[in-house]
Symmetry: C2
Subunit: 475 residues, 2 copies
């Protein structure tokens, strides 16, 4: 492709991009296609000869786009948001153009040093201990695995990296509501999911620190070695807040690595009024927050902070000759801070976002989302056909249809029907979870552009659809 | 940021991007800054209030850019290339704008199904077995770890995922020249680097299959359990080609998982004349090739192919309630195909590249690079002051200054000086490795836009700088 052709198409793409973002609300939030619909429109064989960008772009618009679920639609209330923002997209355009592979300092000093600077900024913005060390990872799954491996190595005097033989059986602890990435991490690290202890939660779905202490003591009595506790600040199911300080005290007492998963909620620590969630954080060993969730920065951008940088590096350093440089003693080579070797220039978009919003601009967005969540919660509480299923400390409301007169209704089936009905309209997208064996709807209010009117729209749609379903059942 | 402001800046960025790509040859390939130079120009605190995109973009151009090593410069001959191309950049603009997080089918059916289609295309283009299953991973480090974990689980009847206790001591095999990601993978998986057996190489730096057999038999005799062999098709040091068929026979005989690392070289399999490298591939269990290296597709885009999809899924599936969908039985949910949960829409750029170049267009590029590498090799062979240090089956030439009259020269120091001298000019960027304990220069010819004139320029610079260094030493 000639440069002038690139320039012309890039301008055409920009107009499409601006139009897409401007008119995204006209699109169905959740793609309405069926399995195979997209694949069946695409040829089985690649083209031998070059095709024109005109044809490719047309296929993108006509074939691919209908199969896209629009995560940047303000009515995306599913999962946790993975937001972008206009400044972040602008940065991604530059990152893609530079195409720098930033595995070590020498292969782009700016990428390393801007990562240092943005991680330092973020640490300050969130009130994390000044002495901690930050790096950008692919996601919280990677971060949790990195924490677990570092804990494993440090406790064995860095012997498991070199030798598998250890007579110890390690035990890892998270609440019953801990994210599934913890299950995955203990499997990958060879610790075994049987050795992941799911600690009981209280009636707010938060870890019970006394139950944690009992589990640890019991394991020690049985000859196991407690390795790591993961505390969730904002669980995925219901954004429950594990009580960090009492958990930290238990970890301190037993000398166990405390990893804090604040993948979503961490961003809200830019608000002073949310800092209560991390009281005791200085006793933790590691912490993860995903700016790609709630800080309007394109996926992937997960920030992992660790107290003991030496242990981290000793766990992940490999230094083959072909990667050595004369600056190795003076700089951070982020290839040694995690699992992958290759790295995109991801700090750039975070830098664009923080500067373009300003910290105060970010605070205003987060405050709005928290207020809107409370607004929605109030509606649920006041509506006779709904019940609230969990506290709402953050931006996620867990609720379900549960009319006063239940009339032998299968509430799980009914709520599932409600979810599928509203999602099929394309107007909003919500997801579900199970809490206390009940099928529960999750409404998340965290999209970059979400405003009062979107939440009102969602509420009206959910309420009227629920009423309709109920009246049909009562017929 | 208002939409019209975004549109205006995005157009401004596009003009900058086109100009950057057009005039990239005027820039120094390797950034010439010193440690701290970039960091020291950036404020320690993030701004409270929003800053203008004008200021941010100016800082990008004035502060960040001088600290970027220009991987897309045609004279980037270092490491292995991580290429982009104009069609790939265009696709990345769309991917960033959609901001879709494609962890499961439902969260963007197009991303899943386009990944299926492009992986099927790639399989055909590279001559991989039709029945294999492909997915896009972050990089070859992830792919190798995934292969190792799947092998570990399958051989234990999927017990290590659930329980750490196994009395077996696993052994993993790669050549002395295998990529460092294998060292990292055995450490992460809890197998221990002591149990990574580095098999001796022949005089072409390729694994000796007889030495492999001996090592395996010896391990079995000692009570160890051989788990996986990694064969490298194109080592990182010198692009040595491990002899796949004899290695496959050994693996077959002992029933060991054979993983093939063709991260760079895999792309060249689009040429019939290069297929000899993978004779016996149908006996392998898994294979990785990085389109983000030599197929002109932005990092990250690593294609991992596996024979036993069931074993892969059983190793990596976790299915918490909040991720379940009604289509789960009908579709591929790629979250279950590897380590991370979150996924960018990475198939789009590969689709853009394959269609925009056409397979024949890709073949022409790869053929050119292979020819240029032979051209450079001939120059080395004919020059009295240089010696060739390894065969050149692909796009990488390992060589060093080694004049007939060595005159007590420290050749390692001399070659290091040569490397630093040419890199300091900013005109080219090469790196080094160690082969048979000798410091050796690596010249890679694989950048998207590299042409004869760039290789000639590199040759002239290297030759004249070497002569100058030698004449100074002889003074």
């Amino acid at each position: 492709m000639k440069n002038e052709e690139f320039r012309a198409y890039a301008h055409e793409f920009v107009d499409w991009m601006a139009e897409y973002l401007d008119q995204i609300e006209d699109l169905p939030v959740k793609s309405q296609v069926n399995p195979g619909d997209i694949r069946n429109q695409l040829p089985n064989q690649p083209p031998e000869m070059a095709e024109s960008m005109k044809d490719i772009f047309n296929d993108f618009k006509n074939i691919i786009l209908p199969g896209v679920t629009h995560w940047q639609h303000p009515s995306f209330h599913a999962y946790f948001n993975a937001n972008n923002s206009r400044p972040s997209i602008l940065a991604e355009m530059l990152t893609a153009t530079l195409g720098a592979q930033c595995m070590i300092w020498a292969t782009s000093p700016s990428a390393t040093e801007l990562e240092e600077v943005t991680m330092k900024w973020l640490k300050g913005m969130l009130g994390l201990p000044e002495s901690w060390h930050g790096s950008i990872q692919n996601g919280a799954s990677d971060a949790t695995l990195i924490a677990l491996l570092t804990a494993r190595e440090r406790v064995t005097g860095f012997k498991l990296n070199s030798s598998r033989s250890s007579n110890r059986v390690f035990r890892v602890y998270g609440s019953e509501q801990a994210h599934s990435s913890l299950d995955k991490a203990v499997a990958i690290a060879g610790i075994g999911q049987q050795n992941l202890v799911k600690v009981a939660v209280d009636d707010q779905y938060a870890m019970d620190p006394e139950k944690l202490r009992e589990a640890i003591q019991k394991d020690i009595d049985r000859g196991f070695q407690p390795l790591m506790v993961m505390a969730a600040i904002g669980t995925t199911g219901s954004t429950a807040i594990d009580p960090l300080l009492p958990i930290a005290h238990v970890c301190e007492e037993y000398e166990i690595w405390l990893h804090v998963d604040a993948a979503l909620a961490g961003t809200s620590l830019i608000l002073d009024e949310m800092r209560w969630m991390v009281q005791g954080i200085e006793k933790a060993e590691s912490f993860v927050v995903n700016p790609h969730k709630w800080m309007f920065t394109n996926f992937d951008c997960s920030a992992y902070f660790v107290k003991d940088k030496k242990a981290l590096l000793r766990t992940f350093s490999v230094s083959p000759e072909y990667l050595r440089t004369k600056e190795d003693e003076q700089v951070n080579n982020y290839r040694d801070w995690g699992i992958p070797l290759g790295r995109r220039f991801r700090a750039l978009k975070l830098w664009f976002v923080i500067r373009s919003f300003g910290v105060e601009g970010l605070r205003q967005k987060i405050r709005l989302h928290l207020q809107l969540a409370q607004w929605f919660k109030e509606r649920v509480l006041r509506a006779s056909i709904f019940e609230l299923c969990a506290p709402v400390p953050l931006n996620t409301i867990c609720f379900r249809v549960s009319p006063t007169n239940k009339n032998k209704l299968d509430l799980d089936a009914l709520n599932k029907e409600l979810l599928e009905s509203v999602n099929a309209t394309g107007k909003i997208y919500i997801t579900h979870t199970m809490l206390q064996r009940r099928y529960v709807l999750r409404m998340v209010i965290g999209q970059t552009e979400v405003a009062q009117r979107h939440v009102e729209k969602a509420w009206k749609l959910l309420h009227s659809t629920a009423e309709e379903l109920l009246s049909r059942k009562n017929d």
